[in-house]
Symmetry: D2
Subunit: 259 residues, 4 copies
């Protein structure tokens, strides 16, 4: 008996049904055309009409298995998404995946090389008969240094790690690396995995020379994204893990071009 395909009389469509928290190895397409292996956590949902009792949970994982080894980028994610709608017989759906993304960076003075890690995600949404939309999001850890603290103090200024989170819809291709660069260049200072003594002098002084409130962080990111014609819409958040409090300062800007 195929219980899931039976009818349903409650007259309630379900906007999202599927699997959540599926961990799977992935290959992420890098900006130079290569790939980077990572481990992703997937959510995969479809819409269920009011007259259908249930979806077929095992097919979501089959789709993941069928795409094992495929380098993931917006084009291949659209392919995976279309395949999901087809296999599930669904009109609409959603795929979200979150993973750690690494970029190699060079320390600002010594030039030593090291990796930085970012939490990245792709978010695919759409419906049958139209190309799916792929949004990207990145959480970029940076330094923020408080302008007020610097202004009022005879010496020093409190600073801290902040998380800049950018969610972006584009009309033309952008890569994760582009988004990292926008975030890092808008902070008081960017971070590195490995810094030698002259680098530490540099980042200390650079942060002091670029004090930013949490409001400045999100506005400076927003300025850069607003002036980038590829970007249709974005949300930028900053959470500053204040070094003088046990809570965060937070700001968020939402922007839709033409709105």
């Amino acid at each position: 008996p195929d219980i899931q395909s039976a009818g349903d009389r409650r007259n309630l469509p379900i906007q999202r049904v599927g699997v959540k928290g599926v961990r799977h190895p992935v290959l992420i397409r890098t900006v130079d055309g290569g790939t980077q292996p990572s481990v992703a956590t997937f959510d995969m949902f479809v819409a269920l009409p009011s007259d259908v009792k249930g979806t077929h949970m095992s097919r979501f994982v089959e789709i993941l298995e069928a795409h094992a080894g495929v380098p993931l980028d917006p084009a291949t994610l659209r392919g995976m998404f279309d395949r999901m709608l087809e296999r599930l017989g669904a009109q609409r759906g959603e795929i979200a995946l979150t993973f750690t993304y690494f970029m190699r960076k060079t320390a600002p003075v010594s030039g030593v090389s090291s990796l930085m890690d970012y939490e990245a995600s792709f978010h695919v949404t759409g419906r049958v008969g139209a190309p799916a939309q792929v949004h990207m999001a990145l959480q970029v850890p940076v330094t923020s240094l408080c302008p007020c603290s610097r202004e009022i103090s005879n010496y020093g200024a409190h600073n801290q790690r902040s998380h800049l989170t950018l969610k972006i819809e584009t009309k033309a291709p952008m890569h994760l690396d582009d988004i990292v660069r926008v975030a890092e260049s808008s902070a008081s200072c960017e971070l590195w995995g490995l810094l030698k003594r002259p680098d530490e002098k540099y980042v200390t002084e650079r942060a002091y020379d670029n004090p930013k409130f949490v409001e400045d962080l999100v506005r400076d990111v927003a300025l850069a994204l607003r002036s980038d014609a590829r970007v249709d819409a974005f949300t930028v958040e900053s959470e500053n893990f204040e070094s003088i409090h046990n809570h965060s300062a937070y700001a968020r800007i939402d922007f839709v071009r033409g709105a």
Copy 2:
């Protein structure tokens, strides 16, 4: 020099700015008019016009301090919200608080009494000159038992803990206890902190007698909320921590009355 009040030329309003993750003791108004102490985590934000450089972070915590000891319910939260807009000179804002809420429950056969814990939250949004809206959300842990597993197996059926999360907008007062009851009565079986042997027999058989897919859980909650005239809009989610997989089954219904 009051840097925060200086002008700003980037022409970018900020939709939300304030403090995040502030932990504070709270008193929650209970359904019988008493209070229940808990520990809440607050986010408090206001909107910032494009021509203002920064908000005044310390005033958010002052407002929390000023409301210490005030039993929290929709009316007092609206008062706190209005005070926040006033003190921050803001047109719009948002207060969200999350806390553990306890209800005393009686085991179904033995009648022994114990507490159950729920993650609850209040979400206050609004603007100057209109009453703020207060939404409630509750995460209610329940048992779900798989109808397909029961149907196809000669004996047994896989079951697991599920999290039902209900977010509700109301036009007339509802209490957290009412929402818990809707969720628990829609599950294969509800949970208790303390069960004796005859209770364990009861809950085992009750779950087996009420098999529900993740789709059924959200639909049965949605049916109950749709038929409650106090409810204007709701979202109901279920995450089933499958006992046969290492991922969750998930479903979500969004509903707006009259939409």
Copy 3:
């Protein structure tokens, strides 16, 4: 049939068996003899001899229920522990509870008052026929400012939030407040929930005047605890959430008096 009390032939004693992650409201005895409500997460375990098949899980929660409303301090926790061994017929056991603890603090210049939150825990271990031992642990968030960054830079110095975690065995009573004070006075600067402008100047300059490596933080706490005759043994850890990296600096000292 009482399956749990049946014999077991595998010849394997179990060092810990019981319940984990039970959330319960608690009253914590404060230093002035009053009480502070909080929400605790309990782990409660007993040892099971090799010839007994199982413990009685519901009795652990019954003991929590029986102690509802009892202000918790080392003496009452020993009472709860003894009751647990008795009710479970056990020779040894363990109770651990973790909760948010608040202290009222006064800002250093303005004198404004606000709460600070700390993650606290009590850990009770022992056996039949001897008084149970009660250890305390506290996670105290503080500011650390890097001496090297200050030394090599023309201006500024990177600083960040750090978590000092102190676990303490005492031969004479100490209160949570005493432990907080040791931690906060050993940091570059302590934190407050609410600071006005002159306070922010104070904390900025104070941190700059008291640069500390992660090694200094744990050594300065250790110095204070070693010189306190009430303390028999301790562990002190510091995790510095570096503002120039996306990882932490960490140090730990373990000390047993007379070892």
Copy 4:
């Protein structure tokens, strides 16, 4: 000025100092001699004598960078560990890394293939002049079905996901796959990423045919490890996320051969 190498007069050795929470891509050596890419979180510590002021934090990350691309197994981890002691001029140290490990599994009836994910870790400890010890730990999610619930109920039995965590010291090589197999074969039933209908019947009935208390889970794992001559010592824990409560049942056995 090399502040870190300056002397220190507090007469307090530091047992562990270094970096915590460093995320880095890794290659894990698989049982067939191949490699599996993953993302690991590293903690790297050394002991610091009482007369030395500080360690050199950047060298830890340099060691990670120097081992990029080296397939990790006990032998290569010992090499990394020895290099760390040498570069830091330390007598003792510790490296811990945690990562997601995948195994390909075949569904029990349909034979469909899918991946299962496990949280794995290696823990390297030692001192100068002796081979470092490498312990392995694995968190293996499984199904547990309650014998009491089955016994007292006319039909059904509550079951749930459980986490079996095994930490193992060996005198002869064992692979992560061996440890997974011990855990999965000791449960009421193992988990798969992908199950078809006949598989779901199989796992439902298999769990019902193999009811296990949390005490049975840890004893059955312990029996298997005790009888394996390669194993010198182990800890096995089970946390059962009870489907009838909002807390866990928990048990733990510690074993040292010859103790």
